[in-house]
Point group: C2
Chain length 173, copies 2
Amino acid sequence: MNDAHRSGCPINLTLEVLGDKWSLLIIRDIIFGNKRHFRELLTQSLEGIASNILADRLKKLLEEGVLTKSDDPSHKQKALYSLTEKGIELLPVLAQMAMWGRKYMPVSEELAIRAQLLEEGGPRLWAEFMDELRERHLGIPLKKRPAGRPSVGARLQAAYEEVVARQKTAAAG
Amino acid sequence: MNDAHRSGCPINLTLEVLGDKWSLLIIRDIIFGNKRHFRELLTQSLEGIASNILADRLKKLLEEGVLTKSDDPSHKQKALYSLTEKGIELLPVLAQMAMWGRKYMPVSEELAIRAQLLEEGGPRLWAEFMDELRERHLGIPLKKRPAGRPSVGARLQAAYEEVVARQKTAAAG
DNA sequence: TTAACTAGTTGTATTTTACAACTAGTTGTA
DNA sequence: TACAACTAGTTGTAAAATACAACTAGTTAA
């Protein structure tokens, strides 16, 4: 955490924190996969992060105030990683990157469905999702939960599983 | 350009192209600073990029189809770098990162003013700016230019210079 | 003719990343 | 109570990326 920044440009300062190939993937897994423990992040990482890199990035994200770490009451050794407001507000950045990747890179269908829903839902949906994250990570209760409608997190997850199920059917049949 | 991607996740694929500390800064200088030549990007880089890193990143961005390279008629040796549509559509990503950096990092005032205007203008302003970039980089003429109003690029630049001028006055007076 | 400008390349030291193995302690089960 | 599995990491080493300075080769304008 040296204060010797390369410049005071907002984009540069963001890149100094997040400009590598792993940090935003960790944030992604916490936000969209609800991965909260070291081992979850390590073994369920789609891209196969190394344990020393994961430990280093978690440390840096803690130092930068993007994450916090607390004890998990269920297990003396378990650490629970939570997003801060600063971390939660990375969702629009991730959404915008996901939209760009979906449009211009060779994404796989089941992993692109979340990006599609985030694009269709737009900033309104992002805000709703961020409120859910505030409840989950910061303990801030949701003011209004639209009656009879699953959460954004649940809808994204359901859409993903639906595509996977359809793919299995297509492959088998 | 190896096809061995770590995963088909849109966010991951975006990071595979742009996940380092320099690529998006080069895009930023092209978009907001209208830097089109190697030497401009090298010597006017706020953060001081090294020439071999710049050469390497330009090469990768060309390979990925984010930039194109052409001869500058004014000088046989000059290369002119232009954004593709894929590159132009990185503007929302940069805008979102700039907004996050402005909110959560120790930005300098004169470099944060553009981020502020991009935030206030929202996606409508981004779309207008992207049309200007399409004219400049792709030769696509602007359909409608609001009469008597400077371009978005000019407004961003003017706002920056205004802050710098005010800072000079304050420092001298 | 010459100085300054053009886009890079080359060599070397430092830093970062990747990969595998390992530590130290905790928990659930036989 | 012993033991296997699980917890969050650390350590050692090789490979890759980055930083820094010097340099190449050709072009342009005075």
